[in-house]
Amino acid sequence: MRTAETLRKEGFDGNIHLVGDEPHLPYDRPPLSKQILSGDWDLERVALTDPAKDDELSLEWHLGDKATQLSVEEKIVSLDSGTDLSFDGLVIATGARCISLRMAGDLEGIYTLRGLDDALAIRSELEATPQKVVVVGAGFIGAEVAATARQRGLEVTMIEAAEVPFERVLGPEMGTVTADVHRDHGVEVITGVAVESFKGNRRVEKVILEDGTEIEADLVIVGIGVKPNTEWLEGSGLTLDNGVLCDDSCEAAPAIVAAGDVARWPNRLFNENMRVEHWDNAVEQGVFVARRLLAGKSNTESYSPTPWFWTDQFDRKIQLAGRTRSTDEIRIVTGSIEERRFATAYGREGKLVGILGFNRPRHVMQYKQMIADGTSWEDAIAHAEQQAS
């Protein structure tokens, strides 16, 4: 959608076809695990387009249909319905889907959350006031669902296989703080143990952990990550490696670009092949690839953003910018963990590589800019000390 808007804005007047496997027109995903799930928002508020905008952009929709094959040579995308679309330029933005737990089997009451239909199904389950909600996987989506369910007054348990939730991204210390926010609000957080199986007669009744613990559950939401939707591209000749591999300008092949959760590209700012699953990147990369397509071979600009995302957990707005790892050096640059309002800088190999904020949007943005500018770790710390004095 963002790409289509940009193509029109930049003066492209040819045909634009949008293909999507969901029956819905494009919508905004972040509210799904927050305001939609909590019941605060109506569906209309997540729509990314309306009839007037649609007319203006003059788009041709193929909804509820999906791309099944790509011929790079002939420049044709084949759809499930049998339609073949030929193209001069192609944007691959097929996103990612939830990894599900195979042992969930056919039991009712076990969900993943990715799309609008998932959110609505979980919302109606929450409205039926289940006795006990279990969230499997303390990633950011799982944690948001846990927070939303808890704020509805439900009893919630969150289970995480790693010793510390969010450890891989935030490191042990900051991961613990995030888990503690949940504990403070009455979520039971169980870590360091994986789910073994689910028990129930038609509907889920219990979650069995690997250490034998049995947890009562009448609603389970699984949030253990996503994988990129690239199966339809197998055999197309494009390189698939946990996403569609692109060059540093997001081009996967001549006149074929990729954007959003499905794209993997070398981000020169971090010297890393990355695939980013955040809203902000989907918007920025969507705009970038539209310009990339229109510029053709003349555009050699590389796409080197500083990834950023936010998550709302209870009354905390948590923001993370950059590319952090659990082994990075960390330094609290403002505030304190005790008051749950602080910003933590992450450093690696002498460079500032990340900033985590708990209700500190101003600092996150300052440091995000410093990351984009390639600021050294030493200068970042000096900046923090100067501000504090």
Binding site: P30, D280, W308, W310, D312, Q319, P361, R362, M365, K368
Partner: protein, 66 residues
């Protein structure tokens, strides 16, 4: 042509993305609230304001022409 920057403060959650894109127009202060520094920032800043509109995670910013 002139234009006016409008923010729906019921939607705004002070993510401060706009502040990074257009620091002359938007500022999130230490009280965590967003302040509009220039309601009619003029043509030079138009592209930055438009990018802020697009990148606002809450879609809280709009441009009123006139």
């Amino acid at each position: 042509m002139g234009y006016r920057v409008e923010v729906d403060f019921d939607l705004c959650e002070s993510n401060a993305i706009c502040m990074q894109i257009a620091p002359e127009v938007f500022e999130v202060r230490d009280d965590d609230f967003l302040y509009i520094l220039a309601e009619e920032p003029g043509g030079d800043l138009r592209a930055q304001v438009e990018e802020s509109v697009q990148r606002c995670p809450k879609q809280a910013i709009s441009i009123a022409e006139g």
